[in-house]
């Protein structure tokens, strides 16, 4: 009886060791079993794409862009700042703010906003292309981004 138990244990130990040597060097347990780091649950939860707050912000972004196109830089900045306050993760606002500060001849502020635009638009290749082009224009003015 005791021999059978010993044999079973030995087989289990050996098979366990064999299996462990075949596995990946870093063991990652299933997500659900782990206590997440603080903020992890929220970080992985992307905000609803078209929440009312976002919609209102996008309306302001649109108005800000139109004003910028008309050369009303200060008015555009004011609206874009309101848009930022409603939807701080919309990188387009920062892109347009960078444009506005370039138009106002302040490449240092433009660089700050361009960096933020890059942070939030990193997943969007089309926008990133615009952000990088803008960055080159800022750097051409002697301002490091």
């Amino acid at each position: 009886m005791s021999l059978r138990v010993f044999e079973t244990v030995l087989v289990l130990v050996l098979s366990g060791l064999t299996l462990s040597s075949c596995g990946a060097p870093i063991w990652v347990p299933p997500e659900s079993r782990l206590p997440p780091p603080q903020g992890a649950e929220e970080a992985s939860r992307t905000p609803a794409p078209l929440s009312p707050r976002v919609l209102a912000s996008l309306r302001l972004t649109d108005q800000g862009r139109t004003l910028l196109e008309r050369g009303k830089t200060d008015d555009a900045i004011s609206l874009l700042e309101r848009a930022v306050s409603l939807h701080p993760t919309n990188g387009e606002n920062y892109y347009y703010l960078a444009e506005a500060w370039l138009m106002k001849g302040n490449p240092a502020q433009a660089a700050e906003f361009n960096r933020l635009a890059g942070t939030y638009l990193k997943e969007d290749p089309l926008w990133m292309e615009k952000v990088l082009t803008q960055r080159k224009r800022i750097e051409a003015l002697g301002q490091r981004v």
Binding site: V9, I26, L55, A56, K72, S78, E112, L116
Partner: protein, 770 residues
Amino acid sequence: MKEGRSTTIPWKRMVAWTTLFLVLTGAGSLVYCWHLSSQIEKRFSARRWSIPSRAFSDTTLLYPGQRTNRVLLHEALRRLGYREVAHKPEHKGEMRTSSSRADIFLHDLQVLSRKREGFPVQIQFLQDEIASITRLDNRESLAILELEPEEMTLFFGPERERRQLVSLDQVPEHLIFAILAAEDSRFYRHHGFDPKSMLRAFYTNLRHGGIRQGGSTITQQLAKSYFLTPRRTLLRKAKELLMSLTMEVMYDKSDILEIYLNEIYLGQDGSVSINGVGEASCFYFGKPLAELSLAETAVIAGLIKGPNHYSPCTEKKRCRNRRNAVLRAMNRHGWISEEALQIALTSPIETVDITAYRKRAPYFIDHLSKQLTTLYSPETLSSLGLSIYTTLDTQVQMAAERALSKGLDRLETSYPALQRVAAEQKLQGAIVVIQPKTGYILAMVGGRDYSVSQFNRITQARRQPGSAFKPFVFVSGLDTFTPASLLSNEPRSYVVDGKVWRPQNYEPMGEDRVRLRYALAKSINRATVDLAVRVGLDRVVSTAKAFRFTTLVKPLLSLSLGAFEVIPLELARAYCAFAADGVLPYPLCLKGVSDENGRILERRHMTIERVISPAKAFIMSSMLRSAVTFGTARSLNDMGISFPVAGKTGTTNDYRDAWFIGYTPDILALVWVGFDNAEPIHAPGSAAALPVWAELIKAIPQHISGNWFQMPPGVVRKTICTQTGALASRRSRCKPMEEFFLADHVPTPHPGKPPFNRIVEEFKDVIESF
């Protein structure tokens, strides 16, 4: 013949003397009139009135889906001059509210370079959420609605007069007729004084044995209020007469009437007088002159006789009688029809809510004023009628004032030792609310009661931050340490300024080693000092300088526990960088200034500078989130705060200061509680400041999106061993958890134990499983 001569000569002499007297008097009067004319011309050609500048709050944005505080929103509408009506709003400034909707006829909106005509709108509510916003004139659904800014204060000169200048063509005809009917119906027919009305007044007064009626014309009234003292003497009356005549010669009737309409005293708002029909229209009826009804113009005209005696706010019956008298006089002169008269006579007098003038958000306004004095002199501010637009959100300001007041009262009730009799010695508190991304200061409460103390504890105080400074020690270490790195929690002695210093924890901690995240969340002093020593104090000091603390003194070790003074606004600003991707905003209160013609004189925008990477900011927010979920601020979860919040409590030695700084991606608020004389308050930040923060934030749902920060580039998520802080592996025997790391600073897996020990341990496991 002799006799004849003797009777002729005195008669002739009398005529001669009389003629001479008349000539001399006439000549004297002419000379005097000439003198007066130069005085009048000087007064009329110069700037006629000092118009105080006005500071406004920011506009309020409303949009469908927005959660609101219905009470604060309704109060804001009342402050904006909207008055409740039972019928469907038909005129600007009217509103009809019910539990599920608000129908509002909006005022015109004018802010820097933007104008919008008022229109009727319906806001539908679903409990506290705005369900829809619809224009009532064309049924258009609106995605966003902007409410006009609130007037916060007036920058008065010594006169303390409120006045809105209007030109004659802006004044409705029926108001002019009402004023003429009430004061001087023969204005266009006399030349400055009206003997007929003077005689009538004289007769009336004689009959009643006292002054019952004045015979002064509009020109005389203007002369009196513009140039003369109110004393009733014969000499002054003669001067008034000559001045009126001179004015009539020099200026035409429309000029005189326009000046009169802007000059006339029409009421009192606390210590401030209401002058001119433009201001009176807004003050009493909350609307511009052009929108006044016939009955309302008659009320204003009736006020001239005695603004406080016939006040439509306090003396309603008397006011109605006076109004009706004016209306009947208008009809008698043929200026209004019988039909119009009958309608006006029966219409009720509805005024807007009037509260005695007081400076709103006084600490914020003081802070603003200091910035304005670098742009404009006090004389300019009190005379040029500038419009000053700010970042203040009146609903947040109201919520902050109430939360602080309630919080301090509650503390005094819970801890009777905190009660003081003298008002200036009472427990104090301060709040500042900032939008972290833009730096807009939304609210500022610099003390418990502005009338007792004008000292602004947000901008002028220097207080020790205590543990509220710890995040800046931790962020200094993020280049060499990770949230999973272990710090020593063992009792140690240090030499500070030649003295032995043994930092103690607020509460006993069993662990000898704690992870960074745990140390910050639980605000562990010994671990923080250990980190500061290992990082280097110079580095902590340079971090603090980068975050724009201007009050640093010596790089002492006690600095790591916040044993130095900070200006609360600087502390709040520094935390903004964690909430804004590592970008430090300039705390902005002024958005712009325009002159009385709407020409923009000054524009201010958000200004930012990067102090740490977005990755570090994210990790700091994640660690400060732990302070709320399981650390010193965990009681926030029991106070109805169900959305993600990062924050840090702060308590200084002997409980002299209690702090809580909490934030979301949308809003940041700092709360400080303490005594001005640094007596202990016997309560930590979590008990004294944190409940105030919770109360404030719950009252402003419109500023809470419920979102958390997105993980920026440069951050990775890994599984670690809670005991070692090393990456978890199959070989490590530990309790795993997930942690965030800078991508270029991920810990290595724990080396683990020798193979033989592992086999034995795994063997034991298997045995145990049986």
